[in-house]
Subunit: 514 residues, 2 copies
Amino acid sequence: MLGRRGLDIVRSTWCSSWASPSCQLKREVSTKILSRRATIRDARQLDSGSRVAVGGWVKSVRKHKSVSFVNVNDGSCLGELQITLPSEETGEAAAQTLGAKLSDITVGSSVFVEGELREVPGGKHKRLELHPSALEVLGKCDTQRYPLQKKYHSLEFLRENLHLRARTNTFGAVTRVRNALGQGLHSYFQENDFLHLHSPILTSNDCEGAGELFRIAKIGGKDDEFFGTPTYLTVSGQLHAEMYACALSKVYTFGPTFRAENSNTTRHLAEFWMVEPEMAFAGLDECIASAQGAIQRSVAHALDSCAEDIAFFNKNYDKQITERLERVVKKDFARLTYTEAIEVLQKAMSDGKGKVSFEKKPEWGIDLQTEHERFLAETYVGGPVFVTDYPADIKAFYMRKNAPDSQDRETVAGMDLLVPKIGELVGGSVREERFEVLEKKMRQLRLIPEEDLDEEAIASAGGDLDWYLDLRRFGSVPHAGWGLGFERLVLFATGMDNIRDVIPLPRFPGQCKH
Amino acid sequence: MLGRRGLDIVRSTWCSSWASPSCQLKREVSTKILSRRATIRDARQLDSGSRVAVGGWVKSVRKHKSVSFVNVNDGSCLGELQITLPSEETGEAAAQTLGAKLSDITVGSSVFVEGELREVPGGKHKRLELHPSALEVLGKCDTQRYPLQKKYHSLEFLRENLHLRARTNTFGAVTRVRNALGQGLHSYFQENDFLHLHSPILTSNDCEGAGELFRIAKIGGKDDEFFGTPTYLTVSGQLHAEMYACALSKVYTFGPTFRAENSNTTRHLAEFWMVEPEMAFAGLDECIASAQGAIQRSVAHALDSCAEDIAFFNKNYDKQITERLERVVKKDFARLTYTEAIEVLQKAMSDGKGKVSFEKKPEWGIDLQTEHERFLAETYVGGPVFVTDYPADIKAFYMRKNAPDSQDRETVAGMDLLVPKIGELVGGSVREERFEVLEKKMRQLRLIPEEDLDEEAIASAGGDLDWYLDLRRFGSVPHAGWGLGFERLVLFATGMDNIRDVIPLPRFPGQCKH
């Protein structure tokens, strides 16, 4: 808040919240400095000689003979600010003058410090340290019980301490990069005439197969009396996005979606965030162009605003991440048809003379597996690649049918974006906009009820999707869209391996603590 | 997409999706023009003489003797673009030359038009019309069955046709203003060092009273075996935001929240969006300053980017909306303590000599009702007003206790922002950061388990919140935050009256269609 609109717009002086007699000292210190707090990120940009107040958590304490160093971080950046304190021998008296007890300044404790920034002598690069004129320990930290005492913790251990892991370098960096990726996506959509659509979480429609849906419990034993219909957590906002795109041309959703899939893997979550743009007056080219544009904008924003964090991931998690991300931003993504992709895989096997093999044999008609997807992105292309025009039989009912190919095989105007390390990052398609074609397909799949079905049967068949046909009955337009699993983008941009480590509070079978 | 990164970054020419023989004509027209589409908002800014292609839905057709006018909208703005067609007598032949049948151009049909923009002769203000050189009806509209045939529809009628209502002026405008308000909030937070936190929807914690929670159904009859614990839809992301603020200083959530409250009112939804920032190293002043700052930024962005829409609401829904919003952006919000507010209300009654009355008598200790809140905002202040320092007994357990007042009454460092027409728009507080005070309060309320409780009892008492106490055990910091009901902000900014009309797909008792 510092230096921006800040407190000058509010009339009163310090709030009454510190007024209890038991924290009189706190009140005085806080009154002076809380409202003048600078982020550590900002403080590190200031000139030597500047006076500044910062708050944060102690990351390390190094006591030397003539001086003690306390490193503090506040989450505004990866870097820490070094507080330089008087020597240990004379430290206690000096600390008391500053307003604190030296022994309270331990790893994990929170402090508020005011002082002067001075250049660290002798360094190659300019680095500032803070010489305090006032210091308060806001919250002590029981060193015996604090789980994050040690400098190093395994990711597994931190998953057991979800409520504290954001205090580590890794999870601070993940949170900042995740934030930047999300904002980069918003920027792309807003600059390209998309409206953000808050599609609903609760829905009576199920278009992806009833087995993987979370259902809302009946309340008080009565049969779904709250909404009057079986109600689920959404698996995708796409159909709702189509509803709005067929009125306002370009929209995007960005919200949580759910799968009750019993998958205990590093790639699946029961609750995850999806980005689903939908465009009217668009075909597969626009679909592909917007997916590339949005991802490039998102990654560029992360590289730009989180350079220090990306360098951290590059050093500690994936030595190629910076280079890979920079190439993503600069280079067009490649493009193959599914038919070409199958040929590439088959040729790789026959040319590879046993060195290239796949568990599932690549044949026209199969759904590409992660092993195929990664080979195409990592080995064949060496970067992101759009695979288009998949066999109709392996894709969803709403994808638009192409004309049969030269061998009379049926394909759809769909695309998947495959990227190194992850496999599928985006899936999209042109939507079937022809009423008769869509209606026939939906009847075959029993997605719209036969005329003699009762309401319960309609509900169990996935709800009544007649409204979805209305979008084609009344002023239908060619339209297309795609979905991005946001956590997969965070994995891609950080080089982290486990999807549970790139969402604040992961939910998966057996885990819904907090 | 036009004129931006657009299609030049994609290698191939037009996609295969139009290649089926049955739509050969479409393919040719679309190949020519789809990728050069301009939004109608952009087209209206061009110079007379410009060539342009637009797509959209027909809003009206007026056939005159010498000429026909077709008004088209694409959702990029409220305004329509007038297509000027040859006269009715000769129209059919001319339309066929353009590639369409004149009789197919009906209200609700979708069209794609390419042509030259020319100034409408004789108008006072510059207004452009499009003289087409190519026109295609992409999707016909069955005029007998289309529910939105007529020009005017009641809001009630449109609530019965949720999947089509975005095609009306009102709901297009609501969607654009809602988008702008959301982006304005993001801008405020991003510019002020907040990180967007995707707090979870599924949670085992319940801190607001079990009666109003949606619970996830047991799967396959087994007892909550998916997560191993009773699981609910979140009522607030606050506790999770505190978890991250107590590590990274400033975060905000912006996501859906849920109440299984059986309220059939114009002010309540079962699913609604909340914005919940949380700040470490902050007190009530920062809480108030950030709420004012965020709302001002949000409303300013809506005024700036949706001027035409706001003017529409001002004309059709609330004659004071423009003036009210402009004042909100410019003027500081007022501030009263709860104790002062009660005095104001009591004085208003005694001075009013019977003209001012309230259903609930204003006395120190009561929770303010909407009638009180609106009186304070509308009559006393004439604008937004923060009311602070409420009685501790009527507020949540996590709010920080003030020192007892001069009459030895207990209050908390909390605030509500009251605004005209709506009442409470924001609620926030400083959080109790003192371990002992918080733990005692939580034990009293049975929010943390007695030591002899088993897991089931803990779950039914609202889950285990010991992690929340850990935030105070280890490096506790003064922190504060607030929550904004986003739909209430949309109501406030549009002048609409019913909360069901400001969210894309409202969910309330008996309604979860689509």
